[in-house]
């Protein structure tokens, strides 16, 4: 099970990469307990008061067990960095890097399944518990503490919606970006489970996108297992079919692997949410109102 608290100890792999350094600074500024960085060949240096080690093993020997690692290494080194972290016993692995080859993710996902590791991403902004801890690269200014849990695929869209919620007076309990790539670690369903159990979360917003089937799976799961009010939004309703829209997950083609089933379109996803009786927002600006309504209704229910 996910072990992630406000005081979780965090490691940064690839801390000497340009974006790794930015990310480390961002997390530290937010108050995250960043205990060490790893960058082979840079062991012994210090970056932003964070000690840098050549390997994860050495870092853990110096600072003790850590709860999570954030990986910023180049795409073709991500699999190795993640396997190194897993071999050292780290069970929460965030991959910020974009452009990891899918077959590397196939290997990593298998290893994660075998070892019970949470892999978030690749191409993920990470997790933020506003006011408490940031694991990843969310811009702090859009987030405020509250009771809405957010699950999405694409970073900037999560930020947009968090910003609109914040402006509407709806703070967030936990936001997670599962990542925009074709093959990602943790799924919508797994995060629905987490948020359903999370005491500070009272409503859940699912930010879907066209491509893949994770929204359809999430809709079914909500109908079956989620008690808290959930609302959904799906980006890409006007997207041209068969075009690549930015990341590989967002291709709609009659993928042979799907054996012709009509899945992955905005229509199919919205239909699945409706089928599961999940209110659907057609534009981001409708989300705050839907959340308010849902909270009122469930509060009403709770009172009964």
């Amino acid at each position: 099970m996910l072990n992630f608290r406000a005081d979780s100890k965090v490691l940064i792999q690839g801390i000497t990469q340009p974006f790794g350094a930015t990310g480390a600074a961002l997390m530290k500024a937010y108050g995250t307990n960043v205990v060490a960085g790893v960058s082979p060949g840079f062991g012994g240096q210090t970056l932003d008061e964070i000690p840098v080690f050549d390997m994860v093993e050495g870092a853990l020997q110096a600072v003790g067990k850590v709860d999570a690692t954030a990986i910023f290494v180049p795409p073709y080194s991500v699999l190795d960095a993640a396997l190194e972290a897993i071999a050292s016993g780290i069970r929460l692995v965030l991959i910020v890097t974009e452009g990891v080859p899918p077959l590397d993710m196939v290997s990593l996902v298998k290893k994660a399944e075998e070892t019970g590791t949470w892999v978030i991403g690749p191409s993920s902004l990470g997790i933020i518990v506003p006011g408490k801890i940031l694991l990843g690269t969310y811009p702090a200014e859009f987030y405020t503490p509250g009771k809405v849990g957010l699950i999405g695929r694409s970073g900037s869209l999560i930020c947009e919606i968090a910003r609109q919620l914040t402006r509407a007076g709806l703070g967030q309990s936990l936001c997670v970006c599962v990542g925009g790539d074709a093959i990602v670690g943790s799924s919508f369903v797994e995060w629905l489970q987490i948020l359903n159990k999370d005491e500070s979360t009272e409503a859940i917003v699912l930010i879907g996108e066209i491509g893949g089937t994770c929204e359809e799976a999430a809709a079914r799961y909500i109908a079956e297992a989620i008690d808290k009010p959930a609302i959904a939004y799906v980006a890409g309703q006007y997207a041209p079919k068969g075009k690549r829209l930015g990341h590989a997950g967002a291709i709609i083609t009659a993928q042979l692997a799907d054996l012709g089933a009509d899945v992955g379109t905005a229509e199919s996803k919205i239909a699945a949410f409706k089928e599961a009786k999940v209110p659907v927002a057609y534009r981001p600006s409708q989300i705050p109102d839907l959340v308010k309504k849902a909270l009122k209704k469930s509060g009403h229910k709770a009172k009964k």
Binding site: G14, Q17, P18, F19, T22, L26, F72, V73, P74, P75, Y76, V96, T97, E98, G99, P101, P102, L103, V106, S123, L125, T137, Y138, P139, E141, F142, G152, S154, G155, S156, L157, C159, E160, R163, G180, A182, I183, I207, E209, G212, A217, A235, G236, Y238, P240, K243, R244, L245, G246, H247, G249, A250, Q255, L256, A257, L259, G260, Y282, R283, S285
Partner: protein
């Protein structure tokens, strides 16, 4: 990125998958130096499907007919695409035609072996006939035999076909493919197997570690039907459409949401362009600004574009940095004598340092929005106004 048939067959040959003797024809006159015996088949090397029905595949018996056929095929567009190359190949008599493929099932997050006894032109239509084996653990040849048995093969064919599937899987993994298909796999009366046509889709993200594939794809001529797209850096995701509003945004999800809002307001996008989020492994705020600058420069050349809707949700990149890029762009074009009215821009910014961005854009008379809905609606309105003007 999809390879052409002759390139796919080159990879098959390297893996020991049997293919027919063939020769690449760059020009009809190449047929005079043909090294394979007649009769041959000439095949248009285009990515589009249905080339057989469209007349892109011809059997010929001698040089004179071959040259004539080649001329015809070179001038025959298939779904708007002209071939740069033909493939001349020996003829083959199949008794039976199978379908074989290895694809990545992105939901199961596992490679999948596919096969059917009903191969040939209509194989992909008969999807319900295709058998499937998910490679859940490590691949071992018995997975390929599982597929062969599921396909209903018997006797020696179990061995010969599963050997091909095994090679296909190795190719798939070694070259980081998204998909590899043999269709049809011809089976002769004597039980010999032969890959008669093939399709290889390489994974774009893995291309960097397969220089031999990168060379292939870069050599591939641009299909003629494609409109001149602005010269953009490779890491920008640009999609061309048919309207008059350009959308420039950062992040795939936000780009799609913006596109949806423009669409919902009745607007017609000319194209949209995702500058990329800020998770690009080597990206810095400066990179995002540079990408925006190049994007604006490229889009300015597109005559169809009436309005450019810029929607940047900044993180490390401040609003004022984004505004500064727009300012520089407008001033440079003015300096170069190719001004573009600032009114054609609709800008939406969110993030830090918004006030100085406001000042900067106000000075340029570029409308700035904080709310996304408002920006999208204004862009559509503006495009309509400008359209009316043009029509007048």
């Amino acid at each position: 990125m999809e390879l052409l048939e002759y390139q796919a067959k080159e990879l098959f040959r390297e893996m020991g998958i049997p293919v027919l003797p063939s020769q690449r024809i760059d020009h009809p006159s190449d047929l005079k130096g043909l090294r394979i015996p007649y009769p041959i088949v000439l095949k248009s090397q285009v990515k589009a499907g249905g080339r057989g029905k469209a007349g892109g595949v011809r059997f010929v018996e001698n040089t004179i007919d071959a040259v004539a056929a080649a001329h015809t095929i070179f001038h025959l567009p298939i779904l708007g695409e002209y071939p740069q190359v033909l493939l001349a190949e020996s003829k083959y008599d199949s008794d039976q035609e199978l379908y074989l493929a290895v694809v990545l099932d992105k939901d199961a997050r596992r490679p999948v072996l596919l096969g059917s006894q009903h191969g040939g032109i209509n194989a992909e239509a008969a999807l319900d006939k295709i058998q499937k084996v998910v490679v859940d653990g490590e691949f071992s040849p018995f997975c390929a035999r599982q597929l062969a048995l599921k396909m209903g093969l018997q006797g020696e064919l179990i061995l010969s076909v599963s050997a091909i599937v095994q090679s296909l899987f190795q190719l798939f993994v070694q070259k980081d493919l998204d998909m590899v298909v043999i269709n049809p796999l011809g089976i002769s009366a004597s039980g010999e197997v032969m890959a008669l046509d093939g399709k290889v889709t390489v994974n774009d993200e893995a291309l960097g570690r397969h220089p031999e594939l990168a060379t292939l794809t870069s050599k591939m001529a641009k299909p003629h039907k494609q409109k001149e797209t602005p010269a953009l850096p490779a890491n920008l995701n640009f999609v061309d459409l048919h309207g008059n509003i350009s959308i420039v945004c950062n992040g795939a999800g936000l780009t799609m949401a913006t596109l949806d809002l423009v669409g919902a307001a009745g607007g017609e996008p000319a194209n949209f362009l995702n500058l990329g989020g800020e998770t690009w492994s080597a990206a810095t705020p400066a990179d995002l600004c540079e990408r925006l600058e190049k994007a604006l420069e490229a889009l300015a050349e597109d005559k169809r574009v009436k309005v450019i809707l810029v929607n940047i949700l900044g993180s490390a990149t401040t609003c004022s940095a984004t505004a500064a890029v727009i300012e520089t762009h407008l001033k440079r074009r003015e300096g170069a004598g190719r001004p573009r009215s600032p009114l054609h821009f609709v800008v939406r910014l969110a993030g830090s340092d918004l006030d100085s961005a406001k000042e900067c854009l106000a000075a340029l008379k570029v409308p700035l929005f904080e709310a996304l809905d408002g920006a999208a609606e204004r862009a559509v309105e503006l495009a309509e106004e400008l359209n009316v003007k043009t029509e007048k």
